[in-house]
């Protein structure tokens, strides 16, 4: 078990390193320079010399390889560098925002699972009946509706019918659950719809698959109650693929909130990412991408472990 874990974690390193290299050098190709933006922005009138000096100060004049090496050295000591825009440590910039993003993602995940499990199961059991068709259409629609559009409609609905808009500043859940919820529930719903659609579809198809299995027939032949056949025999097996999807989607959400955070003006890492990209704040972007990649791989690992726990074939092999 431990051997496996360490092996997996070691395997993650080359992947993440690859992500780091790729991101770093891709970003350096991006046209545009944060220093100009910073000093020439809105009627800035500084001279070229000043700009060059600032570049030197930020180490932008060093050869790329050196810059990369510096970054790596920093990472090794958990020093992610400082934002070229605000001059604040990247760690800080991210830590103040990540909580919000994670919370939305988690809420979306919960919502989706709560909706998806029953929905998927029902449509699988009533396959090719009108129920199934309705569920399928609803879920496919879930994949089709852009979450940012859904978000826009939500906000407008709230404003037009309730003359109210969600709070604009983030209050941690523990400080004031109500304020926190009234801000974050909407984006969670907006992305949760697609999320639940994806999961529901997976649940449906895997239950349909499982119900075809011989051991389901065996269970029936034993005279097991139908609800037990589904609840005990089918579910456990059907859940395995569903879990994978929940995990992967979650991992994607972390970065995937980019658009939705714009719509709801959430101060999360998604928005930080977009802003950093538009300002060419390399340091922030590369760190964020790496962070997202790490989360993604970690979630993957967790999913696999969970898989192991649920699937004895893997647990004792």
């Amino acid at each position: 078990m431990l051997r496996y874990l360490t092996k997996r974690i070691l395997l993650m390193i080359p992947t993440l390193l690859g992500v780091a290299v790729l991101t770093f050098f891709m970003l350096r190709v991006v046209p545009g320079d944060i220093v100009e933006l910073k000093l020439r922005g809105d009627g800035g009138t500084v001279t070229q010399e000043v700009i060059d000096r600032e570049r030197t100060r930020l180490g932008l004049d060093k050869p790329l390889v050196i810059q990369f090496a510096d970054w790596m050295k920093g990472l090794a000591t958990f020093d992610f560098g400082t934002s070229m825009w605000t001059g604040r440590p990247v760690a800080e910039e991210i830590s103040i925002r990540i909580g919000l993003t994670l919370q939305v993602a988690v809420m979306a995940a919960i919502i989706s699972v709560l909706i998806a499990l029953p929905l998927g199961t029902i449509s699988a059991l009533f396959r090719d009946t009108w129920i199934d068709y309705v569920v399928r259409v609803v879920t496919i629609a879930g994949l089709a509706v852009p979450s940012f559009w859904l978000g826009m409609l939500m906000i407008m609905g709230l404003l037009t019918y309730f003359h109210w808009s969600p709070p604009v500043t983030y209050t941690p859940f523990l400080t004031d659950p109500l304020a926190n919820m009234s801000q974050l529930i909407w984006p969670a719903l907006a992305v949760g719809y697609r999320y639940s659609a994806v999961v529901a579809r997976m649940v449906r198809s895997s239950i349909i698959e499982v119900m075809k299995e011989d051991y389901i027939r065996t269970a029936r032949a034993k005279g097991v109650f139908e609800r037990l056949v589904v609840g005990r025999h089918a579910m456990r097996n059907a859940l395995l693929p569903a879990i994978t999807v929940v995990g992967l989607e979650f991992a994607f959400l972390i970065g995937g909130l980019v658009v939705t955070e714009q719509v709801f003006n959430l101060n999360g890492i998604g928005r930080l990412f977009v802003e950093a990209v538009s300002r060419n704040d390399f340091i922030i972007v590369q760190t964020l991408v790496l962070l997202i990649a790490v989360m993604f791989t970690v979630v993957n690992l967790l999913v696999d472990l969970l898989y192991g726990v649920l699937d004895p074939r893997i647990r004792f092999a």
């Binding site: 545009g32 001279t47 003359h163």
Partner: protein
């Protein structure tokens, strides 16, 4: 129909602030206001963005300032009194007594010298964005703790304006001694509010400075500047999540908020010291040919565009290089003489086609670089449509802010939608944008035109206003002939806030009147 009632509503509201002034200000309350964009630094010497100005202004004072409610009249802020020598080469300021910094230390002339020295010749690692405005200052002297004296090399007509610039926040000499870059990461001044916290991407908080030198001020207990995207702002104001926004909205945003807030909405409008420009890259063919540039300028129906675009965007009236309606600006009649400002579009377009033909560019195609936010996009769409009507095909290249700057500074563009803003109408401030590239890094048309430079210098040292105006006209005339970069439309500033917010002064620039010292919240 609907639109009509709405505008009248806005009109009524316009009258409101005046009325409000007469009430006795109420102390207390925290003002929540919205602001877009994150500040790249806290140091107002180092930058030109309102994202810094509007946040730090409440924490600092300046030597002089524009008189609230009476723009562009200049009064003292830290200065109690001042004299200008007849040859206008010596400026002497007497400072207010016992002005305190937020750290309790008392302000002396040393602090002002330190501040201005930092601006005029910044130490290594310190960025001074307005060095150029003070090139003519010979020395800053402090005969006694309450007196500051500026000695000039030569006359500069804009000097008083520069002293009133909101950008010259006065820092504590002591702090600068410790770290010349102290202001970049810390906020400590003599302004009405003490700095509390800045949560990146979320908000900025300040609280009342009890020892503020203007007794009784500020009225507010504190303020909270909430960072948000512009689309979120309208929602936030409409949803009463914030009470004000000080930069400006588009007419449609205004209408949205007014609809939502009803009579609680307060709308204040003014022309804006901010204008859209079409800048050509005079180093690239065929834009090195004045005929082509003039043709492209001629093709634009500024009057027609203004009439319609002003309904849907912040773009307002046509104007020259200085704000239309300001003391320096040309009259509409004078404007109509300029190429591209004539009312007869048919004639303009015909002329434009002729010029292109002459330059052998009948079917010119070009790429118009632009930002990807309103109203830049609006302007881009408009210009492209206008050019199409003289047979010019333009590809719209919308880029991120950073690329926008780097492309224009590195000259990797054919033409682009440019803009320029300043804190005052003073010609030296605004004409600077149109001077030669080697003299003014912001003149990204990259042309060198000594004639313009000469006119610029002359107006700068001309104290006589009438003469100076004449020079400005000549400058404009020359520019429109050459059309290195041509004004498109000037912006319309529309500030919408909740009626609770009182005592704030509207002005043609969003850089001044932001210390919030006179602002108060009415009961509602």
């Amino acid at each position: 129909m609907k639109a009509l009632t709405l505008l009248s509503a806005a009109a009524v509201l316009l009258a409101l602030p005046a009325a409000a002034q007469t009430e006795t200000p109420r102390r207390g309350g925290v003002l929540n206001w919205a602001i877009a964009a994150e500040p790249p630094t806290y140091d107002c010497h180092a930058t030109g963005t309102f994202a810094v100005m509007q946040r730090v202004a409440p924490h600092y004072s300046t030597l002089m300032k524009f008189e609230p409610g009476n723009y562009p009249n200049i009064v003292g802020d830290l200065a109690e009194s001042w004299t200008v020598s007849p040859d206008s080469l010596t400026y002497t300021f007497k400072l207010r007594p016992n002005v305190k910094f937020h750290d309790g230390s008392v302000l002396t002339s040393a602090d002002l010298k330190a501040t201005y020295d930092r601006i005029i010749n910044p130490p290594d690692g310190v960025i001074s964005n307005r060095q150029s405005s003070f090139v003519k200052v010979a020395s800053v002297e402090t005969p006694d703790p309450q007196t500051v004296v500026f000695k000039m090399k030569e006359v500069d007509a804009s000097m008083m304006t520069n002293f009133a610039s909101p950008w010259n926040c006065v820092y504590s000499a002591a702090k600068l001694k410790q770290d010349p870059n102290f202001p970049a990461k810390n906020v400590m001044g003599t302004g009405p509010f003490k700095f509390v916290e800045h949560v990146a991407g979320s908000h900025w908080r300040g609280e009342r400075f009890e020892d503020y030198f203007r007794k009784g001020h500020p009225y507010l207990d504190g303020f909270r500047a909430v960072t948000m995207s512009s689309s979120a702002m309208t929602n936030a104001l409409a949803g009463r999540q914030v009470d004000a926004e000080f930069r400006g909205f588009s007419p449609t945003e205004r209408d949205r908020i007014v609809r939502a807030l009803g009579k609680d909405a307060k709308v204040q409008e003014s022309s804006w010291l901010l204008h859209m420009i079409v800048t050509f890259n005079t180093e690239k063919k065929p834009f090195d040919d004045p005929r082509v540039r003039r043709a492209l300028s001629l093709a634009i129906d500024r009057w027609g565009g203004s009439a319609s675009l002003s309904k849907i965007s912040s773009l307002g009236v046509p104007g020259g290089l200085v704000r239309p309606g300001s003391e320096w600006s040309a009259s509409p009649k004078e404007m109509e003489q300029w190429p591209g400002y004539g009312r007869d579009m048919a004639a303009n377009r015909a002329e434009a086609r002729r010029l292109l033909k002459e330059a052998g560019q009948e079917n010119l195609t070009l790429t118009l670089m632009d930002r990807n936010i309103a109203p830049y996009v609006t302007a881009g769409i408009f210009v492209i449509d206008q050019w199409r009507q003289i047979g010019v095909k333009a590809e719209h290249q919308q880029v991120e802010l950073a690329s926008w700057y780097s492309l224009q500074n590195s000259g990797q563009f054919e033409a682009f939608i440019d803009s320029f803003t300043q804190f005052s109408d003073d010609p030296s401030n605004v004409l600077y944008k149109y001077a030669s590239y080697d003299r003014s890094p912001v003149a990204v048309h990259r042309a060198t035109d000594r004639e313009l430079d000469a006119l610029f210098d002359e107006q700068a040292r001309t104290a006589d206003k009438a003469k100076r105006i004449a020079l400005v006209r000549r400058f404009e005339k020359r520019l429109f002939e050459q059309a290195y970069s041509v004004p498109l439309l000037w912006w319309q500033r529309i500030v919408v806030m909740n009626d609770r917010v009182q005592g704030w002064t509207m002005s043609p620039t969003h850089m001044i009147y932001q210390d919030l010292g006179d602002v108060w919240l009415a009961e509602k």
